[in-house]
Symmetry: C2
Subunit: 386 residues, 2 copies
């Protein structure tokens, strides 16, 4: 096991009716900016619950944060924060709204040329506004971590950032608010959480049984609970609660302690979203099997462990067992209604050169933390999943 | 799943040489009281490492905190904190030193008649001193939670307390510092962690697969890694690291979220320690099998899950599978060198009446959170493990 530091001060309020408690955790003197997305919170009652919980408070609103939140939109929010003297941000929505809100919290105090440098040049964040969230979709884990991903529409770049100053002060997770989500978004959430776990698990063994078993426990939960959520005609509270909690635990920092994590699938997936606008989770479901096939020999030890403990595959040669685990993984994504080939989404082969060229421009020679994927091998991965 | 709140802001510094980093996390202007136990930290080099890390700091020392820390000793520390204007507590030792230090942190500001009321009357803690820990034994989980257990020597009472104000600001876990521990203490730590998990797991099903699988993952880790630590002639770093991390995760609050937890084994075990001075973990190893046998029908669903997922027992009738799981559990404790009958420790049958009488004096009619053990049934449990 490698050395590590761990710190996660997010307060989680989980369960039915928990939105009603938020007033207790925001100081009375704060001027709150409520940030949200396309307005689904108006239809599903979440907006009304939040307003009721904060009925005597001083609130300004900023809606219209996109899925894959854009720098352009968020900078308008930064301007409003400054002109309206906002001093607390409350994100009400999914991971995109919260990621965007984290960026606003940091960008307000950025002192360099332009806040985009937080992403493009990984400039350190020295100060940030307090923020919190009411999460409406179990997926990104943003509700219990201090990072985010932002897209610049102008240049089609999608980049990540993070700082311990950006942990939400609290996050509300009421599984009932996910009942009205379209099944496509539910499926996206399940896959997103699954691949967050895989990025921290399917690398190289470092003798970390607690972290491994926690990861496997989350994968098994997603495999058991995911298809139920897709096939149910009426949402089941416990089913949605388990998916929500699994997604939160999948990316709160614990799984990556002392292990080798990867994130190659995310780096390649972000480019597909930036160029083609494909849903984030869908890009991950497309790319991961290609990454697995490329690395099936190098990472065979962890792949065999995954095959056995997650899919109960114990028969056959190493190669056969790994191949079966990969096809089980693909079948799981497909069972959620997801097209897992680039061609399912109208992507053409010329994107491969563009993605590789972009990685080269960023002076990358490898993709992912274990540095076992050369940039040129991204071609093999993407051709494989074409 | 039940509703829950979760909050755990403890910063964990885990790994080789991590004691050297503690200076960064204690403000320079603090007058620190270093609390410790019987002096093993002088022999194993931990004291020297702590002093080196804090070489320019203003430090007073308070040693002699007992295993099962006593109110009497801790009140002397409270006096020293006041007379010497200490404003930061650093516990260096095992769970007893840290539990004692948490009590000091709360007792200093207690405004009622006497701080014992924090325990005897469960008085709320409204203010506490900042504290942190360098932990030298993986066992109690105190390093990542906000509770503790204190004994009053005079009256032979052992009671617990807790408050969100009592989370350590940081805890250092360097697995190397456990290398010099006597095997008996290593075994105690393994069993303590195991039973912390069981208290939060082996109750009633509430459809909580994430929490269940995390619990099972910790139990499996302790079963695999525990015997290695006992049989190794030279301590193995990863083995000790895995035990340390499992013990910390066993009681950091996560496993009990949304589930029914128990703590009956601890309540009965505390009485055995208070009367006979038997090591805490040993009392738990004695009592748990008795509790399991008493509840094998009421809690059969979770017992069968435990049998299957932890011990791989899938054959036989319900009764046979549960009996086998209980005997596997007992064999595991014995394999660590532990005497798991009261008679192994010179305890005589008259203790049973005394314990039941004491529960009655506290106006208890049941023992444990699910309220499925009548006080009178404590007799059945203890006679069973006599």
């Amino acid at each position: 096991m490698k050395n590590f530091n761990f710190y996660n001060p997010v307060r989680i309020l989980f369960g039915k009716g928990k939105i009603a408690e938020i007033g207790k955790y925001i100081p009375k003197d704060k001027r709150i900016m409520l940030t949200y997305g396309g307005g689904s919170i108006m239809k599903n009652g979440v907006y009304d619950q939040v307003k009721a919980a904060l009925k005597d408070r001083d609130i300004v609103e900023f809606g219209g944060i996109e899925p894959n939140p854009t720098y352009e939109t968020l900078m308008k929010a930064v301007q409003r924060v400054k002109t309206e003297n906002v001093d607390f941000l409350l994100a009400v929505g999914g991971g995109s709204v919260l990621d965007g809100t984290k960026f606003i919290a940091a960008a307000v105090y950025y002192e360099g040329d332009e806040p985009w440098e937080i992403l493009s040049r990984m400039r350190p964040i020295r100060k940030a506004m307090p923020l919190a969230s009411v999460i409406t979709l179990a997926a990104t884990g943003s509700e219990m971590n201090s990072g985010g991903v932002i897209t610049r529409a102008e240049t089609r770049e999608k980049l990540s950032f993070g700082s311990p100053l950006l942990f939400p002060q609290f996050s509300v997770l009421d599984p009932q608010v996910t009942f009205s989500l379209p099944k496509r978004q539910v499926a996206n959430g399940i896959v997103d959480a699954y691949i967050h776990v895989m990025e921290q698990y399917l690398t190289y063994p470092l003798n970390t049984p607690v972290q491994d078993r926690f990861a496997e426990g989350l994968l098994l939960t997603l495999i058991e609970e995911g298809p139920k959520a897709i096939s149910d005609t009426e949402p089941d509270y416990n089913n949605r609660a388990n998916l929500m909690w699994a997604a939160t635990m999948a990316l709160n920092g614990q799984l990556s302690l002392g292990v080798d994590s990867d994130w190659a699938t995310h780096m390649i997936g972000h480019e597909l979203t930036a160029y083609y606008g494909i849903d984030h989770a869908v890009t991950l479901a497309i790319v991961l099997p290609g990454v697995m096939r490329l690395l099936k020999e190098k990472r065979s030890e962890k792949m065999l462990q995954y095959a056995e403990r997650v899919w109960n595959i114990t028969e056959g040669s190493t190669e056969e067992r790994i191949a079966k685990a990969i096809s089980k993984t693909e079948a799981f994504f497909k069972s959620l209604g997801m097209g897992i080939r680039l061609s399912d989404h109208g992507v053409e082969a010329d994107v491969i050169d563009r993605i590789i060229e972009r990685f080269r421009m960023r002076r990358m020679t490898t993709v992912g933390n274990p540095k076992d994927i050369n940039v040129e091998e991204v071609r093999t991965i993407l051709e494989d999943v074409m």
